[in-house]
């Protein structure tokens, strides 16, 4: 057996024995009966409305999709519409009293409205063309939807009042504008467009029709959904040349920055919908028998109000450790290695597992990694571990570092790190938070040797050769002179102790107290 074959078999075994993600408490199935999709929350957050196609619902020769409701714990499932043709894509009104959906009862895709219990259903559009993907305005007075006429063309966004009156076209491009989602402010609508070839997310200003890119990448982004407070956007992303079966949910700031992949959700995960309290995403996942409704409890740092940050981004928002392999596969489990050893340009660093957020092998050079620590530090160097070890399903698998493209580790649960006093900017570009516990810097000035303690220092700039330093003291005084000794002991806030040559450091800048 070759090493590669052994690796492949090993990885296969790990994948086969990985526990269900539902068991780790972050993602779980709510509805698995029939084929169920497109969840929408009731405003009180207690129920999910979705559409489903059931085997037993054979109506005049074909099982039609119909609208259903279920408690978020999966209990009390109830059918709301009993159409003989497909009825799907439900959207509950902001006041929780009305239900929008698409129905094909009149021969083509039309927008219908009903009471939340499915009663008193009437069509709002009755064109022979296609009207699809309805969404409410935050005040519940208007509806945005995607449509194109029977004669042909591409999808445009249209607006109408909730009684079906006042229809007006919002976009007029030859590209397709689809999957509108109205921002809670009422001013803009996020939507998906193929104007750049692939799917990207743009916004359009409802008042003046001006459009702006929101999430644009070579990959496909689709099905946007705003959080109730409007500060974050969830969407679905899949690779540029990949399949939608690879689609995963992402969240980003409302301006599209800091996109985070929610790797705890099983792929494919489509059509994310925020719970009203912003702590849970509902989505549809393709199970063995059909689509299923799932919910994902968002990691606390993502669910918290405010902007998403870099450390969250590199963590991947997951509550498991994730190794993305060069083969394209993803392994999930718990990293059992207590340390990662990195040989940097300024010395060897042994990093505790708790300190590390992400290891990226994206330079193309074997073993050369960029490492982002939980506190935002960045290092680059050669990872000396030949393999890492992931535990899942009661067994541990060795994964050669050469096979890994990216390693994302869950947030550590260790003791709080000591406060950082300085940021060390290293000559190779690394950025490290260090404590104030470095030994006094000895500087020779005019034939005399001075000792400068860390508590006095505001900033130190080192020359490239490392034999000179300019020290700015907290008092405002400045000292310039020759550095005595060839080792500067530093204690990283992330834990490791280093003794670096002064030429390795470009500057030490105070960031906090002593």
């Amino acid at each position: 057996m070759t090493g590669r074959t052994a690796l492949a078999l090993g990885l296969l075994c790990l994948a086969a024995t990985s526990p269900s993600l539902a068991e780790d408490g972050s993602a779980r199935a709510v509805v698995t009966a029939g084929s169920s999709a497109m969840p929408s929350w009731t405003p009180d957050g207690t129920h999910l409305v979705f559409h489903s196609r059931r085997k037993e619902e054979k109506q005049r020769g074909i099982a039609a999709r119909n609208i259903w409701i279920v408690s978020t714990d999966g209990s009390g499932e109830r059918q709301l519409t009993k159409g003989t043709k497909d009825e799907y894509h439900p959207a509950v009104s902001p006041d929780g009293k009305k239900l929008l959906f698409v129905s094909e009862l009149n021969g083509s895709r039309d927008i219908w409205i009903a009471d939340l219990d499915g009663q008193n259903a009437v069509p709002l559009t009755d064109d022979p063309g296609t009207e699809d993907q309805p969404a409410w305005s935050p005040d519940g007075r208007q509806i945005v939807y995607a449509a194109f006429p029977k004669e042909g063309g591409s999808f445009d966004l249209w607006l109408m009042y909730a009684d079906g009156s006042g229809r007006r076209r919002l976009t007029t491009t030859p590209a397709n504008e689809i999957f509108p989602a109205w921002h809670p402010s009422g001013d803009t609508i996020a939507y998906v467009t193929d104007v750049n070839g692939n799917f990207d997310i743009y916004t359009i200003d409802v008042r003046d029709g001006r459009t702006a890119p929101l999430v644009v990448s070579p990959d496909h982004e689709a099905r946007p959904a705003w959080s109730r407070d409007g500060t974050k956007l969830a969407f679905t992303r899949w690779p540029a040349h990949g399949r939608t079966s690879d689609a995963t949910p992402w969240v980003a700031n409302a301006d599209g920055t800091a996109p985070i992949e929610l790797t705890a959700a099983p792929a494919p995960a489509l059509h994310p919908a925020w719970s009203p309290d912003g702590r849970t995403l509902a989505f549809q996942h393709r199970g063995e028998k059909g689509w299923e409704i799932w919910t994902l409890a968002l990691p606390a740092d993502i669910a918290a109000p405010g902007r998403l940050r870099l450390a969250q981004q590199v963590r991947g928002g997951a509550d498991v450790d994730t190794a993305k392999l060069r083969s394209g596969d993803t392994l999930r489990g718990t990293l059992t290695d207590p340390h990662l050893r990195v040989r940097t340009a300024y010395g060897a660093v042994e990093l505790g597992r708790e300190a590390v957020a992400t290891v990226l092998f994206d330079t193309g050079e074997r073993g050369l990694a960029r490492i982002v620590l939980a506190n935002g530090d960045t290092l680059s160097g050669f990872l000396e571990n030949e393999a890492i070890h992931l535990a899942a399903g009661g067994r541990t698998q060795s994964v050669p570092v050469d096979a890994i493209a990216q390693l994302s580790l869950r947030a550590g649960r260790g003791a709080a790190p000591p406060p950082a006093a300085f940021r060390a900017l290293m000559r190779n570009g690394d950025s490290l938070l260090v404590t104030g516990a470095f030994a006094p810097l000895r500087v020779r000035v005019g034939g005399r040797t001075m000792e400068v303690s860390a508590a006095e220092v505001e900033r130190i700039d080192f020359t490239e050769a490392g034999n000179k330093a300019e020290v700015v003291l907290r008092s405002g005084d400045r000292v310039s002179g020759e550095v005595v000794g060839d080792r500067l002991p530093l204690v990283l806030a992330a834990g490791p102790r280093l003794a670096v040559h002064p030429s390795s450091v470009r500057a030490l800048n105070r960031t906090g107290g002593p």
Binding site: M38, K55, I62, D132, G152, H220, R243, T244, K289
Partner: protein, 273 residues
């Protein structure tokens, strides 16, 4: 000796009937032009009862796949017919082709397909029925009176059995397009070669068959009509897998460029799930 005489007789009959197509020795009273005219007439009938999606990207996708298949066709018979490709907004899993070229693909079967190769396998199969002239062969050999009924549907209000929920004319036409296992097997074989020549993955055909077979278990009514006109025996699936494995793949340079509208995007635009 007796078998040889029978074979000789069949050859003589085939020659007398002047059949054209990808296979031989099958009587067909229609000319190629006759197939095309009949297809045109039937397309007017069925399109009155079908909701066609005239969406630019969707039509561009099926036209690009169809053109790619046709351009690479190893069989001259494929190029005798003016193919046209139409997408029907029906959740029912089905696809069918009328004689002479019109190919209809339901959104229901697009939903089942996960890749452009799988869609191409459905289209290649239907195009093969056209090229092999299966519809008019059946009309010739089985029941000529059906021909008269089809021609009369549009002008004479004769009673027609309530076969289909879509409408009587469409239902009747679809019933006529139920082919024998031999004809289905031939359309599979020709379709596989067509796909392969066009640079599509021929294993996608068996992959679609497996998915349809799975759907037959989970949502039987949705695939009922497809299964009734395209029986999915285990033998047929295995045969598609075996033949795909035996095909020699064309050189990459001979393969036309991929479609400009990617299949996952177009599918997502119309996705009901």
């Amino acid at each position: 000796m007796r078998a040889a005489v029978r074979a000789g007789g069949a050859l003589a009959l085939a020659a007398a009937l002047g059949c054209a197509g990808v296979h031989r020795f099958h009587p067909n009273f229609y000319s190629v032009d006759g197939d095309i005219r009949l297809g045109e007439q039937l397309s007017k009938e069925v399109e009155g009862e079908l909701l066609l999606l005239r969406h630019s990207a969707l039509n561009q996708l099926v036209n690009t796949v169809g053109r790619r298949l046709l351009d690479a066709s190893p069989e001259p018979a494929f190029k005798l017919f003016p193919y046209s490709y139409h997408v029907v907004d029906s959740p029912e899993v089905n696809a069918f082709a009328l004689p002479g070229g019109p190919v209809y693909i339901n959104m229901g079967i697009v939903e089942v397909c996960d890749t452009e190769d799988e869609l191409a396998s459905v289209m290649a199969h239907e195009m093969s029925h056209v090229a092999a002239r299966h519809a008019t062969e059946m009309l010739t050999t089985q029941n000529l009176s059906q021909l008269a009924i089809i021609a009369a549907i549009s002008v004479i209000p004769i009673p027609i059995p309530p076969i289909a929920w879509e409408g009587a004319k469409l239902g009747y036409v679809l019933t006529l397009l139920r082919y024998s296992r031999g004809k289905e097997a031939e359309a599979d074989r020709l379709g596989l070669r067509l796909m392969n020549a066009a640079g599509y993955d021929p294993t996608a055909m068996a992959s679609v068959f497996r998915k349809l077979s799975e759907q037959q278990r989970s949502l039987p009514s949705v695939v009922e009509r497809f299964i009734s006109s395209h029986p999915l025996s285990e033998d047929r699936m295995r045969d598609a897998e075996r033949r795909a494995a035996q095909l020699e793949r064309p050189a990459a340079t001979a393969v036309a460029a991929a479609s400009p509208s990617t299949f996952p995007q177009v599918k997502m635009m119309f996705a009901k799930d």
